[in-house]
């Protein structure tokens, strides 16, 4: 019977998979990107959406301004407070 606590097992798995990704060569990453039709070197490429170009909902910004200075200060550290783990199209 498997008695591993889900959160512990899951984090253990993530750590192992993270190790695999750290071991991948740049060539392998670029080859996968190429396979997907992603061109990281191209201006406006979707490859780095959420990384070098992030997006913020204007409504969200208005709301956070209303919440006062302390809140907007904390927002200012990271300017990509966006939706779910899934991407929105650029």
């Amino acid at each position: 019977m498997n008695t591993t606590r889900p959160e512990i097992g899951f984090e253990r798995l993530l750590k192992s998979l993270e190790r695999d990704l750290l071991d991948a060569s740049d060539e392998e990453i670029l080859s996968v990107a190429n396979e997907l039709g992603i061109k990281p070197g191209m201006k406006g490429s979707i490859a780095l959406f959420g990384v070098t170009v992030a997006a913020r909902s204007k409504n969200q910004e208005k709301k956070s301004r209303r919440q006062g200075k302390s809140s907007s200060d904390s927002m200012s550290r990271t300017r990509s407070r966006r939706g779910s783990k899934r991407d929105a199209p650029p």
């Binding site: 998979l17 993270e18 990271t78 779910s84 899934r86």
Partner: protein, 201 residues
Amino acid sequence: MKRHIDLMTWPESVEWIRSPPARRALDAKIVTGADLLRLKVLARLQARGLPPHISWSDLLQEAFARVLDGSRRQPEGVPVVAFVAGVMRSIKEQYWRQARRGARQRPKLLAELEITGVEEGEPFDPRPSPERRAIAIQEMEAINKLFEDDLQAGQIISALYEGLTVDETCARYAMSKTDYDSTRTRMRRALLKAGLRTPQP
């Protein structure tokens, strides 16, 4: 509260942020474009262990914000990608620790988390958390689905989850070391594909 871009009014409802911390790190030549691609995949993987209102981009940008403001310092000999990945892991653990402490308060933003464990990172919080457990179960299903057509990958996923060594995994599933290695390579490629694809499967 789930923040999202309203696609009905997109792009008018969206403000593009041209210099988030990761961009500034690229401009300062702290990382390369290839590093950022790898970190994007790593952030997507790590964010699977966080609630849905925190996106992978939040996690990545927060890690870079801490690197740029000097609250996290890269130890000598540690490659930058491994270092930033460690910062993301550490932020995630801080989030869960403080979520436990502030369970009755409003949810915190990543940028509001206290900065602790500056050099050594944040160890895994061993105390049970129902929310974290629910997310882990849900995301395990998503990862299993990613490898549903690959029996050996599924076996290795189970083994890693249980913390088995390579030898124990090979013995349990009657797998040769060569099969094990080639399956890990396939898994890595599948993860890269999933991590680079938009939207993420």
